[in-house]
Amino acid sequence: MDLEFSTSIPIYLQIIEEFKRQIATGQLRPGDKLPSQRDLAAQLKVNANTVQRAYREMEILGLVETLRGQGTFVRQTEEIVEGTREEMLTNLVDDFVAAMQSLGLTMADTLELVKTRFRERELAQGGLKDERS
């Protein structure tokens, strides 16, 4: 896990967020094994109790399950993946909408801007693909 965390937010929450992101983007799939708590603590250079707390909360949230003696695994439930993805999308859109509002944009302006940018990006990405092929 490559995580640049901010120390002004509880660290265990940021660890949970990072796992949620990896699950939502498919980097981690149902059944995949999480690093051991000790390894992750060493890797992130955080207190093992902090990692333990993150894993415990993720279990309560139903994101992962710990099998005795085997480790911690991403749960097999598609709806959790879907739910996590939806939650992430909602958060991203909320942040975006709030930013647009603070700049004084209307919904119509924002939608227009989004459409334009979407098309430009697709063109740029399509162009890149063509060059490569």
């Binding site: 120390t7 002004s8 509880p10 250079k45 902090t50």
Partner: protein, 235 residues
């Protein structure tokens, strides 16, 4: 979270030196299995508190209990204390220092020692006199972490050493921390990037505790890092 007996209880601890009141009634209770940061500027009483707990300084008042008993010859076996002032024999090799130190303790873990030496990139054949300050700090940490002591006291382990040694020491503590059966107190006057080590922090100012709590709860309730909180409190 932990139903076990506290590893350390300090009650109304007081210590006066001829010119300064170093501790003005300190009370603390540390559960087993946590890493605590004892934070404060120089002269705030951190070292005096650690030395009292280690049984090296006699307090003027108050009580200390280590796993239920006051500091004594017996409690010294429960504590690994790394003082701020170095006491390594400079003519010894790293291996000799380890052999010499391990002879004093029944809880010395030979396998931890080897693991730590390698992790800290210490050459067992090197003479102490040839080591940099950062390497000597690493060695001193090995001496504490190779023991299975229930209570480890590290006085300013990051003070005046290079960033790479500092990183190694932070990671070494994370790796070797034995969880439930061990508690570590780390004193520092510069929190910097060591704050992710701490379960809980105690802010000491002129011999009194001015703030204490779980590091994660403080981040959540103040919306600040422990480092920023430290700077704010001691500005």
């Amino acid at each position: 979270m932990n139903a076990a007996e506290p590893v350390l209880v300090v009650h109304n601890l007081r210590k006066k030196y001829p010119k300064v009141e170093a501790l003005k009634g300190i009370s603390l209770s540390l559960p087993q299995g946590e890493i605590w940061g004892l934070l404060g500027p120089n002269g705030s009483g951190k070292s005096t508190l650690l030395k009292c707990v280690a049984g090296l300084v006699r307090p003027d008042g108050g009580e200390i209990a280590i796993l239920g008993t006051p500091p004594s010859r017996a409690s010294k076996a429960q504590i690994a204390f790394v003082p701020e002032v170095e006491s390594l024999y400079r003519w010894m090799t790293v291996r000799q220092v380890l052999e010499f130190t391990s002879a004093f303790y029944d809880d010395w873990q030979k396998d931890s020692e080897e693991e730590l030496l390698e992790f800290m990139r210490l050459d067992p054949r090197a003479k102490v006199s040839t080591l940099s300050k950062g390497m000597r700090a690493r060695l001193r940490l090995v001496l504490a972490l190779a023991r299975r002591a229930p209570l480890i006291l590290l006085d300013e382990p990051f003070s005046g050493i290079d960033p790479s040694s500092r990183d190694r020491i932070v990671e070494g503590i994370v790796r070797q921390f034995k969880g439930e059966e061990q508690t570590i107190i780390i004193s520092t006057h510069a929190v910097g990037d060591t704050e992710q080590l701490f379960d809980a922090v105690v802010f000491l100012h002129e011999g009194s505790i001015i703030l204490q709590g779980s590091a994660e709860e403080l981040r959540a309730s103040r919306g600040k890092s422990i480092n920023d909180l430290f700077k704010e409190v001691f500005a």
